[in-house]
Amino acid sequence: MNLSVKIGSLTLKNPVMTASGTFGYGEEYSEFIDLDRLGAIVVKGLSVVPREGNPTPRVVETPSGMLNAIGLQNIGIEAFLRDKLPFLRRFSTPVIANFFGDSVEEYVSAAEQLSGAEGVHALEMNISCPNKQAGWIVFGTDPKAMEQVVRAVRKATTLPLIVKLSPNVTSIGRMAKVAEESGADAVSIMNTITGMVIDVKRRIPVLANCTGGLSGPAIRPIAVRMVWEAYKCISIPIIGMGGIMNAQDALEFLIAGARAVAVGTANFVNPSATVEVIEGIGHYLLDEEIPDINDLIGSLKMVPRMQS
């Protein structure tokens, strides 16, 4: 049975990776699971300059989900390469460095710094950040801004480049197409959905940042739909994510057209969720007598429904 998939020039031993921001730099979960079993490790988002992050409260639970506004707290690329990457190099699992910036120049220098490092196998751009040089418009919600930043980063790296799309757009298919045409090797679908929770007693937003990103099983049907829509529009691989808690959930994404999947919030609930998803996908392929996972990807059947 083959579980191996390709994302651009990168070969994964199985299609299950971690979602950025839910797995630290790998160390935190290395005592719970064998990191060698993962398809890839996507690390917490990095920037050239370290970020302190938002004031608290930063997280709040919502029905079957959670809202977070961590504020991209991170140690910076320099400290990551020096203090965190050596640990990850001990494993055979490829490392995908998630990164962001608040200007095109910052994205480019982040990509350049990460590309030169031994042990970084691919880059994932978080484009759900505002551009401080262009009226704080969020790169990932404006096709022009996105095209500009993806093209610039494409020139700055030869590593496989994954663009993590924002769901806070009208047409995910169009944004995926823009990413493809701008030189992305793959897209991640999707980032969190912007949400808000209000404390009615005090009449204040629960999060200090007012709004946050919604994740968890609550958003899964939206994510599956977005993967399915994008799959019809582009030919580069899609990495599907959004509320995957178990293998069944992951399979929905694969059938909808995702070449790989990422497990995010589930890590918080169940530190061995990724490994359970990998095992569950294997069992499904055996049961369904599918020898190669690539035969499952995008195999959604559109059948006419009998009307009674």
Partner: protein, 252 residues
């Protein structure tokens, strides 16, 4: 040693109107906890509530883990419905520990904060001067156990139904003000307003003060960065660098 396992509910009952005691028997061997450490407990049987909830270890005996909690929000309301024989997923022990007290010490507990401090008191019987504050007498749970292990117990309640009427930090301030000898180290756990008041009380004093903080957290293992607290050296994770912090490090 695994820190993630299944546990069976051994016993689960009310100790007073709002407080329950949950005793779990882990199904596999787990690391030995230290006083001050906590566990993440599955709070429900479905995806709602989704996240595990952090609870200080209250007692470790005969291979079981006991947790004392107050039914307050959605998570604890859901947790309270688990019955004897049910299975609960547990991550732990997590976080750092209370530093080992050298000699006598002062413990300041606010409400359910006693759950975290009692394991420290039991480890060093007859050495703690406990300042125990609560809303009312009904909330002074574990009174007998506390008396058994503490050197002295000073009580304050908001409504005056037990001990002095008022806040326990006021009583502590009076005690510290009267003391002419070097001050005993302080260990505190309770609601944030109490700890902030304690911060003010000890601000101008030569005293080591270790506080166990409570924060909303998603993962408990240092990954989500949701439970941070502002310290003099930036944000630190309550679940990883804490929950016990030196009061002087907190940027309050």
């Amino acid at each position: 040693m695994p820190r993630y396992c299944n546990a069976v509910v051994d016993e689960h009952g009310f100790v007073s109107r709002h407080f329950k005691l949950l005793r779990l028997r882990p199904l596999s061997e787990m690391q030995e906890p230290k006083a001050g450490q906590f566990y993440m407990l599955q709070a429900g049987a479905t995806s709602d509530p989704l996240l595990k909830r952090p609870f200080s270890l209250f007692k470790r005996e005969d291979g079981t883990l006991s947790f004392l909690y107050r039914i307050r929000g959605k998570g604890t309301q859901s947790l309270a419905r688990f019955r004897q024989g049910d299975s609960i997923r547990v991550i732990g022990p997590l976080g750092n520990r209370y530093p080992v007290p050298q000699g006598d010490f002062i413990a300041v507990a606010g409400g359910i904060g006693i759950a975290s401090l009692l394991s420290l008191l039991e480890g060093y019987p007859g050495r703690a001067h406990l300042f125990h504050g609560a809303r009312s007498a009904e909330e002074l749970v574990m009174g007998e156990e506390v008396k058994r292990v503490a050197k002295e117990v000073i009580i304050a309640t908001d409504d005056g139904s037990a001990g002095m009427r008022g806040v326990v930090t006021d009583l502590l301030a009076v005690r510290l003000g009267m003391t002419t000898e070097p001050l005993l180290p302080i260990y505190a756990c309770g609601p944030t307003p109490m700890l902030r008041e304690l911060h003010r009380v000890v601000a101008d004093k030569e005293v080591r003060c270790h506080v166990s903080l409570e924060e909303h957290m998603a993962c408990g293992v240092g990954a989500c960065l949701g439970c941070v607290v502002k310290t003099t050296s930036g944000y630190r994770r309550v679940c990883k660098e804490g929950p016990v912090f030196d009061m002087k490090e907190l940027a309050w």
